[in-house]
């Protein structure tokens, strides 16, 4: 069956904090019967300190949904709600020593239940902005909706570009047929045809008239646009230096040691090139140091 860690199994067989909390003052409901996963999180929050005194869950779902719910309640008990909001789905997965790619959505449901419960506590309305589709790329746990959205938002046309932007397809490549199908479908919306021979990322002609400062600002803006993608994977990027067509960046956090760093850099390069409308090259900051040392 699934490759569940010991920790996942342990939290499934002996769930912590099962059941509704007595005198709860925050409730978060997420999921639905139709998708086979539903979670109700109840919290008792101390109104003065805003510390979560108690947390309980009721879950309709598979082994990892129950384990993720259990883990979530363990993580957030005793936290201030502001700190609790900083708990990401990756934190939940990490707490459980990882989840199979097909099951990452269980940890997302945990985080969403938490957001919903806090919104409920504060008397706000919580809106889910996350739609889920069928899993396309198992290597990187990327679903259909994510690929479609990224293709649309960035006008992608090749599998290679999809890999650069989402990572999907960057591993075993078994999902390339599925990605091609998505490209075919999305391109058809605008009356275009998917061309398997298209070359990734045609660079448009340089846009004249940007001052150095404007260009710098534009680079910052473009980096800002892709930052959420990196942060979702616990990484980040920092602009170090701009030297003509060479743009030096520093990869931070998970991105730094990630075996996909080169691909990620490629993705950043593509995004910057398209946004600036000129040919540029994105290089790691270490390269700057090396070039400086070589006196060149």
């Amino acid at each position: 069956m699934w490759d569940y860690s010991e920790k996942v199994q342990e939290h499934f067989f002996n769930p912590r904090n099962a059941g509704a909390v007595d005198k709860a003052n925050a409730v978060g409901d997420v999921g639905s019967l139709s998708c086979g996963d539903a979670l109700r999180l109840t919290l008792k929050v101390d109104p003065d300190s805003e510390v979560i005194l108690d947390a309980g869950f009721q879950t309709f779902g598979c082994g990892s949904a129950i384990a993720s719910s259990s883990a979530l309640t363990e993580i957030i008990k005793g936290m201030k709600i502001d700190d609790a909001l900083g708990v990401s789905n990756q934190d939940i997965a990490d707490f459980l020593d990882g989840l199979p790619p097909e099951k990452m959505h269980c940890s997302v449901m945990g985080r969403e239940a938490l957001q919903a419960a806090v919104a409920n506590y504060r008397g706000e309305e919580w809106k889910d902005d996350h739609e889920e589709g069928a899993l396309v790329c198992k290597c990187f746990a990327i679903d259909e909706v994510m690929i479609e959205d990224t293709v649309r938002a960035n006008g992608l046309r090749t599998v290679e570009e999809v890999t650069n932007y989402t990572k999907a397809g960057g591993g075993c490549s078994a999902c390339h047929e599925g990605i091609e199908e998505i490209l075919t479908r999305v391109l058809a919306e605008s009356g275009e045809r998917f061309d398997p021979n298209a070359v990734a990322g045609e660079i448009k002609k340089p846009k004249s008239g940007l001052t150095n400062l404007q260009r710098m600002k534009r680079i910052e803006e473009l980096l800002e646009e892709i930052r959420p993608n990196l942060q979702r994977d616990h990484g980040d990027v920092e602009l170090v230096e701009v030297d003509g067509k060479y743009i030096y960046v520093k990869m931070i956090g998970a991105c730094a040691g990630c075996q996909m760093a080169a691909t990620t850099l490629g993705g950043i390069q593509q995004h910057l090139a398209e946004g600036l409308g000129e040919f540029i090259q994105v290089l790691p900051a270490e390269e700057l140091a090396r070039r400086a040392a070589m006196g060149g």
Binding site: G36, A38, F60, G61, L135
Partner: protein, 403 residues
């Protein structure tokens, strides 16, 4: 044998010890190529011939040359459907059902992308087909009808013999995926109008990786794999001799056990089902209870999720399977449950128990004891359950801000 209780025989079966014994020499001294003239090949060639007769006999086929050995049920299904399309290029339609195995459905989806029209017959809440609707679809445009004999999830049987007669009278080829039916039901192909039939060894106590396509003599055929003259040129590739011999033995044993299947296996299944239904509320049998495989029982437990049930069963050494979305890694519960319009509250909690002649009544009693506490434990965790029953109007009581 093993310690656990294995009730997942529709997924795959244990290779019968007699079958293992029969095939072992073909890994060592009997290594020859059955096509070779010399004594090494000749002996193997004879063994393959004997196996072909054993399969023929279980299927009630008229000629042994109607048996084509393939690598699995999936290959047999693909070969049958693609052959019909290639042999009749002017016919661009296929008739099948919504509840076929992916071996047929996924291929049909691909064929739709390539321009073919596929008619998917619907089923009612008990998983039964609308035969008059099927009859109306038969025409000169249809290349092939492919309808499973028995459903792998619910065990429900389709009236394929009757449907094959209708197809024949309309001049349309008829194929049946009988992967779940062969070995569990008596079959006599020579007295039917079925043109092609798929079976898979590992569902009847032979090893994985061996299948058969039955091809009625005279039915127009185009091979999937072309190459050498093996299987009379209809399926090239050096024969998987050891597995073919094993399948032959397994077919012989299945024929001998046919009565046992109808009586004892069925009795164990019925006891299991009644035992569970008597103790657990809010659950029901899916499919056509009066017309199904003797070994299969599919129970939908409401308000809990199938994978969670399986994990707890597994912990007690009991193996079953589920149509929940989570067990397949997709978002939707099984297409078979959806086609029968089983409500989502239950579809995700459907569990299939499939028995074999290697199970015992004592095992069945142990499962009957194990299931109720597992269901209770999970219902305690469920937001749709409170105390002894579901919350009132579950869909409303638990109404998340999105669905």
């Amino acid at each position: 044998m093993t310690d656990g209780i294995y009730l997942d025989n529709n997924a795959t079966t244990m290779v019968a010890p007699e079958v293992v014994a029969e095939m072992l020499p073909f890994f060592s001294e009997q290594f020859g190529n059955p096509s070779s003239l010399h004594q090494f090949g000749d002996k193997v060639g004879r063994a393959v011939k004997r196996a072909r007769r054993q399969v023929q006999s279980l299927l009630g086929a008229e000629h042994d040359s109607e048996i084509i050995f393939t690598s699995c049920g999936t290959e047999s299904d693909s070969t049958a459907i693609l052959s019909a399309l290639r042999a009749q290029p002017d016919r661009k339609e296929i008739i099948t059902t919504l509840v076929e195995h992916p071996a047929v459905l996924t291929l049909c989806e691909q064929l739709e992308k390539e321009g073919y029209t596929v008619h998917y017959l619907e089923v009612d809440k008990k998983g039964r087909l609308d035969i008059p609707a099927y009859y109306k679809l038969l025409s000169d445009n249809v290349a092939i009808v492919s309808v499973m004999w028995a459903n792998n999830e619910s065990g429900t049987l389709f009236p394929v013999e009757e449907m094959a007669e209708m197809a024949r009278s309309a001049g349309v080829m008829f194929h049946t995926d009988a992967v779940q039916a062969v070995g569990k039901l008596p079959i006599d192909l020579k007295s039917t109008a079925i043109d092609m039939l798929s079976l898979s060894g590992h569902k009847l106590h032979a090893p994985k990786g061996i299948g058969v396509l039955y091809l009625r003599r005279g039915v127009r055929f185009r091979p999937l794999l072309r190459g050498g003259h093996q299987e009379r040129g209809r399926r090239a590739g050096t024969e998987n001799a050891a597995s073919i011999v094993a399948l032959g033995k397994a077919c012989e044993m299945a024929r001998e056990a046919m009565d046992y299947e109808k009586t004892f296996v069925k009795a164990m299944r019925d006891r299991l089902e009644q035992g569970i239904l008597a103790q657990v509320g809010h659950c029901f049998v899916t499919g056509d209870a009066n017309n199904r495989l003797p070994n299969t029982c599919n129970i939908a437990f409401e308000y809990i999720e199938g994978e969670a049930i399986l994990l707890l069963l597994n912990k007690m050494g009991i193996a079953a399977s589920s149509g929940s979305a989570c067990t397949s890694g997709s978002l939707e519960p099984s297409h078979v449950m959806r086609a029968m319009d089983i409500p989502f509250t239950a579809a995700h909690g459907s569990v299939r128990f499939s028995l074999s002649r290697y199970n015992t009544m004592e095992e069945v009693e142990r499962v009957i004891e194990a299931v109720p506490p597992i269901v209770e434990q999970l219902r305690k965790l469920s937001p749709y359950w409170s105390g002894d029953g579901p919350v009132e109007e579950p869909e409303k009581a638990f109404a998340p801000s999105y669905a």
